[in-house]
Amino acid sequence: MLDISPTEWTAIELSLRVATVATLVATPVGVAVAWLLARREFWGKALLDAFIHLPLVLPPVVTGYLLLLTFGRRGLIGAWLADHLGIVFAFRWTGAALACGIMSFPLLVRPIRLSIEAVDRRLEQAAATLGAAPWQVFVTVTLPLALPGVLAGMVLGFAKAIGEFGATITFVSNIPGETQVISSAIYSLIQTPDGDSAALRLVVVSILISTAALVASEWFARRALLRLHGI
């Protein structure tokens, strides 16, 4: 039905890898930030909140360029990581994952934060009276009850990461086999004569992936809801 060429497969596989890695690495950080914003009062909280939302409001090309300046080979953090840990982001698929992780971070954090805020603090108090230390309360009560929000955040983040274009192409360019993901492949194809049918195939694939992600999140959320109501 869809006669997908090897180059297109490479872009699809890369997109899935980039979005999966970005989501899996960003989730623990996102849960920690969401918990801080939902449950703690500290100096600079409003600043942190604004900072993590920046990628949502900045032009993606600006975020990509800032990433290039900081995580590029000669960037402050990029040079240090390359020299000391051998981790290189610039023009690598790992850089695409970094860009996607940062661009999708606000979308990932928001549902998690809302669901943590919605967890009944009286249950957390009850857990403490039964001897649970704060980290145990978090692991056994807060997190399981906030699970639907965590899954929703992950799916939203994943969908955003799959669709990310501007920051990624600015930071890691559009190198087939290394950094060319579905969206940048479509971009290249529609600028190529006779690229239309290939571009359409990738459009169909990206619609399929996004729909599958939404269906999966719905399924998870439903299961989690049943647990929440104690049935």
Binding site: Q125, A126, A127, T129, L130, A132, V141, L228, H229
Partner: protein, 226 residues
């Protein structure tokens, strides 16, 4: 022995309470709004007094003069909340086992069986709280607090949300708890007849202050014979 000598301002209410109780069941008696729940929240460590001391068996849990405040999870004080607060994502077995797991206590099948038998909840172990009746939930909440092996048990109006029939259902379990569990309790209620049946020492609270302390004789005389 429970020693409480605290003051705390809470909006319009100022709590100034001082008492020492050696009783097996210390009844905190007073109308709603008298500060009963605020007082046991301080004993549990969920809120801190503005000034004063809370001590159990000679161990100081709160002392504002020395800035002592033992955190809730290290107090080993069981609390049966008025709204129960069973964990909705755990079944009854996991709810009952929660305190033991958090305190890393060894599994004690005998103790567990004793408590589940005493409260008649052995047949409910695989159910989620959403599938329990009001009286069953109450008993599970009691069992959960007991099995965390507290040195003091706080009971906040454990019969308050139940209709007369359910009260009669739960009351015998509370009497058994008092006589068999061997854990001192603080029993909060606004109902004189419950106090008569359960409390061994009574602290009468009115607008945040202790107005009387003693046995059942300090309770208001019942209007009609029970």
């Amino acid at each position: 022995m429970l020693r409480v000598d605290v003051s705390k301002r809470l909006g319009g209410l100022t709590i100034e309470a001082s008492f020492t109780s050696e009783g097996r069941v210390t009844g905190l008696f007073g109308a709603s709004g008298a500060g009963k729940t605020s007082l046991i929240n301080m004993i549990a460590g969920l809120s801190r007094p503005d000034r004063g001391i809370i001590a159990i068996d000679g161990e100081t849990l709160d002392e504002t003069a020395t800035q002592t405040h033992v955190p809730v999870h290290r107090r080993r004080i069981g609390y049966v909340f008025q709204d129960l607060r069973l964990f909705p994502h755990f079944d009854v077995r996991q709810n009952l086992d929660y305190g033991r797991r958090m305190n890393r206590l060894a599994e004690d099948g005998v103790q567990q069986k004793r408590v589940t038998d005493m409260l008649d909840i052995g047949h409910l172990l695989d159910r989620r709280p959403g599938r329990l009746s009001g009286g069953e939930r109450q008993r599970v909440a009691l069992g959960r607090a007991l099995l965390s092996q507290p040195r003091l048990l706080l009971l906040d109006e454990p019969l308050g949300s139940l209709d007369e029939e359910r009260k009669e259902e739960i009351l015998p379990y509370l009497v058994r708890l008092r006589d068999e569990a061997g854990i001192p309790m603080v029993y909060v209620s606004h109902d004189p007849s419950e106090m008569r049946k359960l409390a061994t020492q009574i602290v009468m609270l009115r607008r945040g202050r202790v107005t009387a302390f003693g046995g059942a004789e300090i309770l208001p005389v019942a209007l009609a014979p029970a």
